[in-house]
Amino acid sequence: METTLVYDGTFDGFLTCVFMAYEMKLKAVSIVKEKHFQEPMFGNWDLVNTEPDKANRVWAGLKKKMSANELQRFYYAFLSEKPTVENTIYQAILYVFQSKNNVASDFGNVHILQLSKLTKNVSREKHRMEAFVRFKLTKDGIYFANIEPDFNVLPLIKRHFEKRYADQKWLIYDLSRKYGIYYNLESVELISLELDRNFDPSKTSTEFFAPIELEFQQLWQDYFKSTNIKSRKNMKLHIQHVPKRYWKYLSEKQ
């Protein structure tokens, strides 16, 4: 009979579930986030408390079986937050632990291949966010950007922005997941915000932003137009590279 393990949605929580499944020698397992959980009609279910020690043991076990690059795929895939991603990763982990040799790049295995595809999706979104974040200078001197990525990529882009914008305060806020990363000139911290009722994330109101901000946005929009070659127009390619769902926070597309 299938057992459903319910966890809090964190990566550690998920890994704890994997640990429990091994410890309880469960045969058929399904792992779901608390917020997606519905009590199954048949089968057992169990609420798993996140235990970092157990999570670390699973992670260390995986680490021994594969290269750092391959290991990273498991975390990337997890951040896709796809509804059944836990089961894909779980199956891939089972396959890895059952095999004597390193099978983490066995793309002939359906779970490993699926995992690598999810990883690709997430890395693409990560790369897109490194490109599409548009900082706007606020009145109190913070470079602020809001994003709504398809996947939970803030943990992945943190390092990139930290290395790059070392001499300015900045804040990137994920509107759909309601948390952000803030750099205070020393280090990056996770924060959640109470956004003002008048705040429209797709606009640049002088109520919140520095007057000079509008000038630079104008220059950027002008530059975007001037650098286009009309006789080569190719909107299909344009949209393929900059999908419409990202347009609302890109100042050059307003």
């Binding site: 530059y223 650098t227 286009n228 070659i229 080569r232 344009h238 597309k253």
Partner: protein
């Protein structure tokens, strides 16, 4: 910084710079230092794309569009009646810093018309880069144009501040250059390229001994050729390209389909379509040379001086070399896998990994993402289903075209009509 004046200049000088297709920001290993601004991303980042589908990675502008030369193919040529403008050094610095701070760009691509003399122009370009690096502690990407005829001393200095340097040879043959830019000669382009190449080699070898040796143009050199302005065939273009890759260690050669900008009778007239499909085939060939292990003579030679427009160059090569196929996916070496039409290097990588665990069949290959429509005629795998008919190359080409829809279909029929 006066907003309105800068705005006007930006419009003129960005418009004039847009025919330089390079916008790459990759390949540099510069890192943030002393908590300054910027950090080069090794893979490069395209921050947005114009409506023509080209990447916008750098603030690409001319320092000025005043020019003492009169090259027929160039929009800023002396005899062209257009608005002229010139940035001050500080204005370019401010624009770059502020665009970078907002995550609009990876850095600056600064080119210029030649005013007064080559050295005078190059000095201004170097001054911008120097100010960004030394006064603003800017660690983003800087691409400077090497001005033909600039002194060795200035070229050396340029490489200390820039990540990439480039000289556009523009016209693939000397004959074409004589016709369209009589004031210029090939040797002037080659001299700064040679200088930079030697400096890169020297700095690299010194760095092995003394670790504190500064970086010199860490992202190397590139160049650009205009396609379809002076009647060269694909073979001439790609052999020239190959010559520059081989002899000057270039990172990239760009191919820019000529956009008609002049009524000069030596050139295609205004309204002539930009040869985008041909440009695409040239890039595909360039990729085959750089990543797929092909030699240029295999793709273009006396018997085949032009690339096919209706099929990609790898498929073209395969159809001329049917004796190399079919390839056994489970046994062939990497070199041969990369030569199968419909397999990219990513698929090759996945196949090499996956076949260590089991014999691969069609289902595995489809899941991996092999372009079945093209690949099926050129390979066998762990399956007894494979192409058993003895098909001629013409027949295979027909079958492939029948079952594929190229994004160029409409353009193709147009262009084919043009050539009768």
């Amino acid at each position: 910084m006066s907003f309105q004046r800068v705005q006007e200049k930006l419009n003129i000088l960005a418009d004039a710079a847009k025919y330089d297709v390079s916008c790459s920001s990759s390949g540099s290993n510069r890192t943030n230092k002393n908590k300054g601004l910027g950090d080069a991303s090794a893979s490069g980042i395209c921050h947005t794309y114009t409506e023509d589908g080209r990447c916008v990675s750098l603030l690409k502008i001319l320092l000025t569009n005043h020019c003492i030369f009169d090259c027929a193919y160039c929009v800023t040529r002396k005899s062209n009646d257009i608005k002229r403008a010139a940035f001050k050094v500080q204005e370019v610095v401010d624009l770059t810093m502020n665009f970078y701070r907002r995550n609009y760009i990876e850095g600056l691509f600064l080119s210029s018309g030649i005013f007064k003399s080559a050295d005078y122009t190059m000095e201004r370009l170097v001054a911008v880069a120097k100010k960004l690096r030394l006064e603003e502690n800017f660690n983003g990407y800087i691409h400077l144009k090497s001005i033909p005829g600039a002194s060795d001393e200035l070229m050396r200095e340029a490489g200390l501040y820039a990540d990439r340097l480039s000289v556009n040879i523009e016209i693939p043959t000397e004959k074409g250059l004589k016709l369209l830019a009589p004031d210029k000669n090939r040797a002037d382009f080659i001299k700064p390229m040679e200088k930079v190449k030697n400096e890169i080699i020297q700095y690299k070898s010194e760095k092995k001994i003394i670790r504190s040796t500064p970086k010199y143009a860490p992202a190397g050199q590139s160049t650009q050729m205009i396609v379809g302005a002076s009647g060269e065939n694909d073979m001439q273009i790609m052999y020239t390209s190959n010559y520059f890759y081989k002899n000057f260690n270039l990172k990239r050669v760009y191919y820019s389909g000529y956009v008609p900008i002049s009524y000069d009778t030596r050139l295609p007239q205004i309204g002539t379509p930009v040869p985008m499909l041909r440009e695409n085939r040239l890039y595909q060939t360039d990729w085959l040379l750089r990543f797929y292990g092909f030699n240029i003579e295999e793709i273009l030679n006396e018997q085949n001086q032009s690339l096919d427009l209706d099929i990609d160059p790898k498929l073209g090569w395969a159809l001329r070399n049917m004796h190399e196929f079919p390839v056994d996916i489970n046994k062939a070496d990497k070199r041969m896998l990369a030569r199968i039409p419909g397999l990219g290097m990513k698929s090759v990588f996945k196949i090499l990994n996956a076949r260590r665990y089991r014999q691969l069949n069609w289902d595995h290959l489809k899941a991996i993402g092999v372009a079945f429509n093209r690949a099926q005629y050129f390979m066998v795998c762990a399956s007894n289903q494979f192409e058993k008919r003895d098909l001629t190359p013409e027949k295979i080409k027909g079958l492939i075209l029948q079952n594929s829809k190229s994004k160029y279909t409409s353009m193709l029929s147009n262009q084919l009509n043009l050539f009768g």
